[in-house]
């Protein structure tokens, strides 16, 4: 699991690459903690290269979404692969998070 960060104006974009599972979810937790520490509250998670998410990963995403909301911010997703989209539907994450087809649309949503 690799996470790379870039800034687009007031929005932080985290590009996720690899597997988000019980063994690797700490990597995303750390990246999110660093983003909060830098004052980020508007975050796009670009999932183009995220090929796997298990419940351990979903838990990190949920906690992050709750934390963003408590800071009057928001986390949105873009470019979810089909398999991940299915997991989002099964867990109704698609009802609590906005998912966009492109990074541009995700950025424009703020």
């Amino acid at each position: 699991m690799q996470v790379s960060r870039r800034e687009s104006g007031p929005v932080t974009v985290l590009e996720l690459d690899g597997r988000l599972d019980s063994h690797t979810s700490e990597v995303l937790e750390t990246a999110l903690s660093e983003s909060w520490a830098r004052g980020a509250t508007r975050i796009v998670l670009d999932c183009e290269r995220l090929r796997y998410v298990s419940s351990a990963g979903l838990q990190v995403l949920l906690v992050a979404g709750q934390l963003a909301e408590s800071k009057s911010g928001r986390i949105v997703f873009c470019r979810l692969r089909r398999n991940l989209g299915e997991i989002f539907e099964m867990t109704k994450f698609d009802a609590i998070f906005s998912v966009y087809a492109s990074a541009e649309e995700a950025l424009e949503s703020f």
Partner: protein
């Protein structure tokens, strides 16, 4: 690869109750699915379900000793995959875990129960029994993408 759908394909893996074993489990599942032509979507479902069951034993099972505490068997017969997971952890029946509240607002969503919910959603059948001091999970999945079982 020679193949005969009438002959079930079987594979077996023993794991320590250690989070670092997840990589080995994943590689083994990848090999099995690739060898037997299981399509990406089914492969994904299998991977998530097996990870959830195994991780639960590792994190919450208090398996002692940790070495070799978890055993996973895969049997592909025709288009049906049977996944059997044994662990030496404390008794745990996932069927007793209530479905998490999925319709709540984000602030009220709970993080617990998602793993068991995924296992139930992704598999066609989930069975549990306590057998000779071990938890035994039997998960069944219809594999539409499997080329054969040999």
């Amino acid at each position: 690869m020679t193949s005969d759908p009438a002959i079930p394909a079987h594979d077996h893996l023993r794991l320590d109750a250690d989070l670092a074993e997840l990589e080995r489990l994943t590689g083994w599942l990848d090999s099995f699915c690739e060898k037997h032509g299981v399509d990406d979507a089914m492969h994904y479902h299998i991977n998530v379900a097996v990870e959830e069951v195994v991780i639960n034993a590792i994190k919450h099972g208090r398996c002692h000793p940790q070495a070799g505490a978890i055993e996973v068997n895969l049997t592909l017969a025709g288009d049906e995959l049977q996944i059997e997971v044994f662990d030496t952890g404390v008794p745990f029946n996932p069927l007793d875990v209530p479905t998490p509240e999925l319709d709540a607002d984000i602030a009220k969503r709970k993080i617990g129960g998602l793993g068991v919910h995924l296992v139930r959603s992704l598999m066609d059948r989930v069975e549990y029994e306590r057998l000779e001091g071990r938890n035994r999970f039997r998960l069944t999945k219809r594999i539409s993408g499997a080329k054969d079982a040999g």
